[in-house]
Every structure is written in C-alpha cells, then in structure tokens.
Assembly symmetry: C2
C-alpha cells in the first residue's frame, strides 16, 4: 500500500519523463566518444544545408529554447551546434536580468520581440522560463503567480507555433550537481574562463534542490510542447543529441527550394 | 595641358583609392586559388578565437558594413568569413526596403537600433548607404539631400567609433558588370538559386553606371572612416581579403582575457 501511494504521488506531480532524479546525466556507457564526435560533425554539415533550405523557403521558423543550471553548457552548445550555420539565418537572444523598461511590461513582452521570423532559427539562451524559475527560488514569484504564468506561456507558445509555423524545441541541459561544482571551480582557476564567473554562482548553486523542484514544475506545467531532457555531463554527448534533434526536426518539415517568384 | 587637366578633374571628384574604373575586380594573376583557400581557412580559425576574446573582454565592438551591387556576393561572404564564429557573438542585420514605421523616422533611426553592443561583431548586409545609393538612382533623393545625408552619416559613424569603441569596417564588394550578368543568369537557371532572383534584378542592372557614380560619391563623401574596395569577381579572393582585414583589425585591439570580476 505504502509503495503504491508513493508511486502515485510521484506520478501525479511529475510525469514520468520529467522526474530529473530518474534521468541519467551521463551518456550510455556503450557509446564511443570519438565515434559520436564524428557523427556530430556530419550532422552539423547536414544542418548547414537544411538551414539554407529553411531560409530559402521561408515558410517555417525554428525556436530553440535552452535552459539549464549555471554552467550546464548552454554557450558551448550554441557554439558547437549552431556555430557552423550561416549567421544570416541563425539568431541568438540571451535573456539576462530584465531592464527597467522590460519589467514595466508583462513578462512575455521582451520575449515576443525576439520571436523568429519565417526562415530563421532563433536560439534563446535562457528564456521566459526564468520567470518561473529564478524568480521562484528568490521568492519574487509566488505559487499562484507561477501557475498563471505557466498558462500564459502555454498560450504564447501555441500562438507562435499555430500562427507563424514556428517549431519550438525546448531543451533542458541536465547536469549533476557534482559536475556543476567542478565547472564553477574551473571558472575561478582557469584564466581563459574567469570572465564567465559571477560572484553569485556558488550561492545559487546551494539552491540546487529548489531549482530542480521548480524546473520539474515548469516542465509539467508547460508540456503542451514537450521538453527534451538532454543528459549533459559530457559535452560531446550533449551536442550530439541536440544536433540530431534539430536535424530530425528540420527534415520533418519536408522543405523544397522554391522556384522563381511569380 | 589636356592630360594634366583630365588628371586633375578625376582627382578632384574621386580620390585615387575610390575610382572604381581603375581598380581590378579580379585577383592578381600570380595568386594560387587552392593556396589562398587554405590560408583563408586558417585565418577563419584564428577569427573564432579572436571573436571569443572580443566577447570575453567586452571593451570593443566591430561593425562590418557590406555594400555592393546585386549579386556581388554579400551573402556568400557572410557565410564564408562569419559562419564559423560563435553565433552568440556575431549578429547580422539585413536592411531591405524600409517599412512604413521606419520611413516615418529619420533614415538613421532603424540603423542606430542595430548598432553593436560591446563584445559583438555586427554585420550589416546593406546599410545606411542605401539611402544615398538606390534612392539616388531612383530619383527619390536629390543631390542636396544626398550631401546632407553624407554629413549625417559621417557624424553617426564618429558617434559609434568615439563613444562606444566601435571599429567600423566598410567594405565594397567590387565586381564587373559582366560577372554580375553571369550571376543573375544563374539565378534564373539553377533551381537551388532561383529563390534569390527578383524581378527587378535585370532592370536594376541596366542602371550600372548610375550606381557606380553614386557609389564613388558615397565613398568620397563618407571617407573619414575609409572604405575598403574588395575585388570580388572570385569568391575565394574576396573571402580571403575580408578575413585578413578582420583578423588584423581584431589583433590591433590588443585584447586580453579579463580576470575575475571584482
């Protein structure tokens, strides 16, 4: 009985796919790093061609939402997977602490301005999800507000996908707390990485469990367009998964080069 | 006497560097295409590292203004030289026919909004110069207005370079009329290129001499920050020159990775 109850409780809060404690942060042991790296390079070349087609056809757009704890490897992912495509067709928006003008509007105002036009792959380095993550950890967004925001996010994502043919890929870069600690240590010890360090990094890292809880709630509350949990302790595996996902998404659009304009 | 007079006349209208009829559109014959391509690849790798440093240091920004006749190879240049850098630090703005909102403002309003923030390489695919080029060819900007606009452009470029440490590289992709005709023909015959074709392309091409004249006047009138005339009939030579120029510009900034923030 007790067992069954526990199981039900977990299920009701977080659907199977979004229980982070149940998802490995590392690659399956049988995978060979060098082989996967080669495969990724080949996929990245395919992506270059597919992105050109997306741009030429200009019927669809792609929005890639990247979330993850500090040092989860968001910047590196952008470099590895999106860095070989024509910069004319790839745009990156980094959402930092909102400005005074931004906070004087609804929380989706600054986000909507960065929505991709047709033909474009838009990458969000952090996103509207911060408004139900860091804000909850810091107590500036209560549970009720968070729930209201989740509804608004669901509606907003539907707007983009239904009214402008935007394919939305939502990625959570899933690392272990240990891996995060190690990467933050590198930031204070390796000169080339020092510029990435923020005073608050270690303090935020102490709130690990809170972040995890609110992430799971965000996945659950905004799952009409599903989240992809990307095991990310190893960068080579992370990039491989995302490159594959993006390639398959683009291929699924069944695009063609348009003929001469009439 | 007659000779001297001609010489003086030419000199007074267009400074030596900006007389397009005197500048070859092709690479020097002694250059080896394969060797140059290899060199370019090496420089592009250097650029990746230099751009990371620009981003990390965030003291300067780069603005690359790309102008040229239709089919001069602007898109290809962006792909070849800027396509290997981290897309987070490279932004491309394409300026097309202004919207109603844009024309309801001064001609630099939409341009200023796209000025690079520190740490960023911003690429303008066409630019504020269109307002003294295509507009003059089509008779919507008279000589007096053009002169006024040139002064405004000079002031604007000084503002960016003096008040936000922006290095401005102004590039004119210099092709021959014959090369242009050939490339336009490809657009109506090669399926993969058809999407680039515009009905007006051949009509505009007939105004070649007008465009050339107004280009030379633009170079002359806005030369406080100099123009670089890039022989561009061969794409491999074009990319090599621009990659070299960008590398030297970045190296000239004497950048360093910053230490830990205080």
């Amino acid at each position: 009985m007790a067992k069954a109850k526990t199981k039900t409780k977990v299920k009701s809060r977080v659907p199977a796919g979004y229980d982070l404690s149940k998802i490995d942060t590392r690659a399956p042991k049988e995978l060979d790093k060098d082989e996967i790296k080669k495969k990724t390079l080949a996929i990245v070349q395919e992506l270059d061609e597919l992105q050109n087609l997306l741009y030429a056809e200009s019927k669809h757009s792609i929005l890639v939402v990247i979330q993850g704890m500090d040092a989860a490897g968001k910047d590196g992912l952008i470099r590895d997977v999106f860095g070989q495509m024509n910069p004319q067709g790839v745009k990156v928006s980094s959402f930092k602490v909102p400005t005074a003008e931004e906070t004087a509007h609804d929380f989706l105002w600054r986000i909507h301005k960065q929505a991709p036009e047709k033909g474009i792959i838009q990458v969000f380095n952090r996103s509207h999800y911060e408004d139900i993550l860091v804000t909850r950890v810091h107590g500036t967004c209560d549970d009720h507000t968070a729930l209201e925001r989740m509804k608004a996010i669901e509606d907003f994502e539907q707007l983009l996908s239904r009214h402008n043919h935007t394919q939305i890929l939502k990625l959570y870069l899933h690392i272990s707390h240990k891996e995060q600690q190690q990467r933050l240590q590198e930031r204070i010890h390796i000169p080339r990485k020092m510029w990435k360090y923020n005073e608050s990094d270690f303090k935020e890292s102490e709130r690990w469990d809170d972040y995890r809880k609110y992430y799971e709630e965000a996945f659950e509350g905004c799952s009409s367009i599903p989240w992809h949990i990307i095991p990310s302790d190893q960068n080579w595996y992370k990039s491989y998964q995302v490159a594959t996902l993006l390639r398959d998404t683009l291929k699924g659009l069944k695009m063609n080069y348009p003929g001469l304009k009439k």
